[in-house]
């Protein structure tokens, strides 16, 4: 009985901490979607370890500028992300921009893209990856 209570207490405490992990990162990431951008109303996250990559699928509409913010760890720049088209052409990689935590994509014509996000191994071995998307009117 005492052991069960211990498990429950541990579980409850750790659940709150785990939720906080992604929550804290999300709070930091939200700051990159500045007031010029309208949030898309969705929250994307993945828990990664090592060289795992999360995959985000988006349709980007033509004539729109999107802001993609990608965060992990305790500071910006811990997440590497690539934007690819359906033929796997790399449209953008934040690795070439010093692991920039956000970037704008000005889209001329509607395109379906895939964003692959993984942890920068030099900064983090595992953690929560958060991606947020906003767009300009």
């Amino acid at each position: 009985m005492r052991k069960s209570l211990l498990i429950l207490a541990l579980g409850a405490g750790i659940a709150a901490q785990a939720q906080e992990l992604c929550g804290t990162i999300a709070e930091r990431c939200e700051k990159h979607i500045t007031t010029q951008y309208i949030p898309d109303g969705q929250f994307y996250r993945a828990l990664l370890q090592g060289d795992e990559q999360a995959e985000f699928n988006l349709t980007l509409f033509g004539g729109t500028t999107y802001r993609v913010a990608a965060c992990s760890g305790e500071t910006d720049g811990a997440l590497v992300f690539n934007v690819l088209d359906k033929d796997n052409n790399v449209l953008f990689s934040n690795k070439e921009q010093g692991n920039a935590p956000y970037w704008d994509l000005a889209v001329a014509n509607t395109i379906d893209v895939r964003i692959e996000a993984g942890l920068d191994p030099s900064k983090s071995g595992s953690g929560c990856a958060v991606m947020l998307v906003g767009f300009k009117k």
Partner: protein, 324 residues
């Protein structure tokens, strides 16, 4: 919480997460994380005489410390984005489609709708209506819609996202379209985060489905949309979003309560199969100083007229199903 790699708990945590992603499309949940962690901690805490229990736990969790090949979290880890209803509303305004307030979901529907599925879908529909009335500068209706959202959000235990303070901010900014769209987008994102945190991916998917269907319904309900090439393209460009929605609904409908809706969405999917998309890659241009990449690839959409008519009819039918 720190994910320090020095403890057994940390390895167990990671392994649980990896397995979770392979097993389910739903977002990672804190309770699963907690289970992994608490079992891990238990193994550490219950050393000595309890080692057998701990060891058994470790075996059951199959902690894998061998290096993995680079892998994408396919299927289980794939995340889908559904276009914001705001974008569709803006496209409708740009195309000059007539504002028809009566097309929006009745505001008393939120009071009468029962059950998680209906309530979730109607919440999403209200979100799309909110975008629609806001971009058409109908502040009064926007306020009334936000009040309906707040009430329905309460029924779905989303008062942390849709609360009195949001209503107050809304009221204070009724003249600012940008602010209203910001507040609305931020509130729905917070709700989505809360739902995913609390293993309510089914509600999250249904809210998205309701918003998506309502947006499309508002679009196709104006006969002028079928004559406007930009709007026809916008309808056709929803093909991938529909595929994503069906995947989300199927993966999250563990209680099998949304079977009728999923079936109807799949029928719509079949109609969208007749939509042809072409794509030609063009080299993007990056302006590092502006932190902007210009994506110049070209694309086009073709929808045969009869297919468009069938899509329009089906969207209306699905919307009626959601409101039934």
């Amino acid at each position: 919480m720190r994910l320090e790699p020095t403890s057994v708990a940390a390895r167990t945590f990671d392994t649980r997460i990896t397995n979770l992603y392979r097993a389910s499309m739903s977002a990672p949940t804190s309770s699963t994380i907690a289970l992994g962690l608490s079992l891990g901690l238990l193994m550490v805490a219950c050393g000595g005489p309890e080692t057998t229990t701990g060891t058994t736990g470790a075996d059951t969790l199959a902690v894998d410390t061998t290096p993995k090949e680079t892998e994408l979290l396919n299927v289980g880890g794939k995340l889908f984005s559904i276009p914001s209803p705001v974008q569709t509303a803006l496209a409708m305004r740009k195309a000059g489609l007539k504002y028809q307030k009566d097309l929006t979901t009745p505001l008393d529907k939120g009071e009468s709708v029962v059950g998680k599925i209906g309530q979730s879908a109607v919440l999403g529909m209200y979100g799309a209506d909110m975008a629609y009335v806001t971009v058409h500068k109908d502040g009064q209706r926007a306020m009334a819609t936000m009040q309906a959202i707040e009430k329905l959000g309460g029924k779905l235990e989303l008062t942390n996202s849709f609360d009195r303070s949001l209503l107050d901010r809304f009221k204070d900014n009724l003249g600012s379209e940008d602010s209203l769209l910001q507040f609305s987008g931020t509130a729905f994102r917070a709700a989505d985060q809360y739902l995913k945190d609390n293993k309510r991916d089914d509600v999250s998917a249904l809210v998205l489905a309701g918003g998506w269907v309502e947006s499309l319904y508002l679009t196709v309900s104006d006969p002028a949309a079928a004559k406007d090439q930009a709007m026809v393209n916008r309808i056709g460009e929803q093909k991938n979003s529909l595929n994503a929605l069906v995947s989300l609904l199927e993966a999250s409908d563990k209680e099998k309560g949304a079977t009728a809706l999923i079936t109807a969405m799949k029928e719509l999917q079949a109609l969208f199969a007749g939509v042809t998309n072409t794509y030609t890659f063009q080299e993007p241009v990056t302006d590092a100083a502006k932190k902007t990449t210009f994506i110049n690839s070209t694309s086009s959409v073709t929808i045969p007229a009869d297919q468009l008519a069938a899509i329009m009819a089906k969207v209306t039918a699905i919307r009626n199903l959601m409101l039934a």
